[in-house]
Symmetry: C3
Subunit: 351 residues, 3 copies
């Protein structure tokens, strides 16, 4: 015999468009301590080989106290915290901007996250709206480790709810390299190119150069779910086959980001640390069985204040097996069907 069900009051229905107020700060739940376990899992889930994140000794040679966890662990963990409050009812994750890594995260650090609503704009259909948030991750000392802006299209609960005054934040199309934050002590003057795996320094890359990273990885359900859970990302669409008629699970866009970044080692082994995320589009969905490949385009280079350290701005593109290095959009400016990710970021590289 069925009983009364209290889930309407006890479980998290997520926020709808009309639940957001401009300027409000949302403190996200479930802080997270990361350890060597997260690091090992990251290396099991992605073919990550950047030496600074693989070896304590290599990291020390670069002026860091020990090897930090991969920057994308920081990103995914902070992002995952925000999901229950920001994107549980999201129709689409529209974009990223002004992402900056403030300091590395080390095993033993505890991360928590807040988001401030910095923009709201109801869509003309009256059914959805765009929410802009600046999400900030902090460690156990209260210091910022990462902040970034993302905007998502969110459903309205009640289509009759009044539209807020539209506010669209003015976002930089690229993080000014002069404002990149360098980890304290970072110094690439004793950087070991042999141990890093490639001989190409910043000066060896030309703006406009395209690098085909060659290797491919065929994606499995178990892997993307393990990754997404590890970041405590609760978005239902990644785990449950029942909502879609084709019974497929949509892969977390961040899984594609990490896979593409790891594949980019082959040709960009010295693009060690991610300093900023300028923008990103999940151009097409990714499903288990897809074989991911990646290519990069050098967009710019810049000096930094740290000894021996330069910055390289890269477009990182993930494609499925029908994709081709260098092919991104069609004549109308639309992403080609085989492009899964177009990510624009700054990395730190020895000069």
């Amino acid at each position: 015999m069925a009983k009364d069900i209290g889930h309407a009051t006890k479980t998290n229905p997520g926020r709808f468009f009309e639940d957001y107020r401009l300027g409000e700060v949302i403190e996200h739940a479930v802080p997270r301590t990361v350890s060597g376990g997260e690091r090992a899992l990251y290396h099991a889930l992605y073919p990550a080989r950047h030496a600074l994140y693989s070896s304590d000794e290599f990291a020390r040679t670069c002026g860091l106290p020990t090897s930090p966890v991969d920057d994308m662990i920081t990103f995914h963990t902070v992002f995952g915290k925000s999901v229950p409050d920001i994107s549980l009812n999201a129709v689409a994750n529209l974009g990223y901007a002004e992402g900056r890594f403030h300091q590395p995260v080390y095993p033993g650090d505890t991360l928590q996250a807040t988001s401030q609503v910095i923009g709201l704009k109801q869509n003309s259909n009256g059914k959805t709206g765009v929410v802009y948030v600046r999400t900030e991750g902090r460690n156990q000392h209260g210091s910022v480790v990462l902040d970034y802006v993302r905007w998502v299209m969110v459903r309205k609960r009640d289509e009759g709810a009044a539209a807020p005054d539209p506010v669209v934040p003015d976002l930089a199309s690229v993080v000014d390299p002069a404002t990149l934050i360098l980890p304290e002590g970072l110094d690439f003057t004793h950087y070991d190119l042999t141990l890093a795996g490639e001989r190409h320094r910043l000066g060896d890359y030309a703006v406009g150069e395209v690098i085909d990273h060659v290797d491919g990885v065929t994606i499995e359900e178990a892997e993307h779910m393990m990754a997404t859970r590890l970041w405590q990302n609760t978005s239902k669409t990644h785990f449950d086959v029942t909502p879609r008629a084709d019974r497929r699970r949509l892969i977390y866009g961040g899984h594609v980001m990490s896979m593409a970044r790891a594949l980019s080692f082959n040709g960009l082994a010295n693009a060690q640390m991610i300093a900023a995320i300028n923008g990103g589009s999940h151009a097409n969905p990714c499903f288990a069985g897809d074989t991911l490949r990646a290519w990069s385009e050098v967009l710019a280079t810049a000096p930094t204040a740290a000894p021996g350290v330069g910055a390289i701005r890269l477009r990182l593109v993930a494609v499925n097996e029908d994709g081709r290095a260098g092919a991104l959009k069609d004549a109308a400016g639309k992403y080609l069907p085989h492009v899964l990710l177009d990510l624009d970021y700054w990395a730190l590289m020895p000069v």
Copy 2:
């Protein structure tokens, strides 16, 4: 050319019903040190979000020295140790009772386990019997971390072997909440509901209330095998497709327990620690491809001696995609075919 095979003498055939003696204590092999690796894997395999097991800082706010490993890691590890001696030739895992968690387990702790035979009763068919054991897990200091009773139906090696005098232990149907053991120092007076993820305190739950935990997870072979191996559970049926005509692997019942418990976060985020297991039934088998959902029923509440800490008795039910919150048994008292697990436990929650 085939050679002589010595496995009859060297490999473990497991114990049969007539190998158990009332009162005997069996020391289980292969002690296990747990680390941050087990913790990270647990979070990759289950959507676990209870803050006390996610954040060292949150755990400290609750009076603990650091974040312990999930209580179910303790349960599975101790259970796994007992499998080669207790359930290698089991036909069925019949039940659990009187499970109590005595203290949390922290990264670096080493667990080992013993079981005492507390009951024996041959079945009327003369082919099998029921063995009752009280299994106890201890840490490297020799202190008990968990004990529980389970009973299993075990094959006889020799149907002609004499039946022992039947002894069925007198087991409590529920652990008396006055005997729950609280972790030393536990204090929920500074408990942060925002960081925990929900605002519902013990007083917000009514006895008889049913909570549909909403989220679903479709299960993969790789995941349940990784989990089961991590607990060093050697039961062949979970790993090997060849014994069954349908070539399916039966999923370890503990995998369903952990998945359901993790899913119950959505609606029971503040049911932080498991204090006792009153009983449990693996009502129907679970296979890869099943989509698991969970619902809970509040069975009772009770005070505890620890500051700000109350106890909540919950029925946690895991169902496959055809299940429905609140629907448990048919008119004849038989579990519905879509019910996989019916677990009765005490959790600790802020008052």
Copy 3:
């Protein structure tokens, strides 16, 4: 619109046969710090139960400071480092010899690897050649942890390139047990057979005895890829379905080695540490869906200088579900089609 692609100059094409020079030493990239995360993942991926690698307390009873990581983690990590320089263009991994473990690796240790070319022999077809290397893994103190010889068949880039003078190293068919290196402090005089899981000491094994390890594991794609990535092994064939017409991924031979070794616990629980690898053949390829079983043959025993410690030489054979314990080769001396691995090693066991 497609752009210029620079991968010819930036990505690693791997070495071809004519790129190797006799005597040259190749320093492999991407040093690796291992942690409790690698340990936990190893136990999730393989049914590993040897107590010395499972429990800090058990390891201390054996005279070690704490529980080391599984010897095969050391092997795979060192092997993985060598792949981009030695076997990226390999047609076949032909053999191993003279492998010796010099000291255990503990969580926190950082491994790096070098290989010296010790033999070169062009094949008569003029298209390929055999490269012999002695690969050495060192820890952060510069001390050797493992060295072994392997030889691989490598493609020539240019079939017209001149053949080098053929040099085939003189390799021992078995490591002399008198030269086995025992971990400092190792002492099995207080070894606990009950906690180890079996009662069989070295003296209980007879040369020629064959042990069927009984248990089977059906292999999943996600698992072998996670394992192979964790060792930072970049060989494309393990990850990418697109190169083969049957769209199958070839499983890393080391995955079969670790699976078979873990399965061998059942009958060889006291063959605790691997001291040497005498030789090995990946007799037939392994694919996801295969159900692996293992059997061992005792080839020899020997004393060691460490208190209570003896050495046992074992042949470890992995078979698929059509295999049978003791059946290895056909009348013509060719491996039976169901044999996947034939590994010859020395393990340390209580006397």
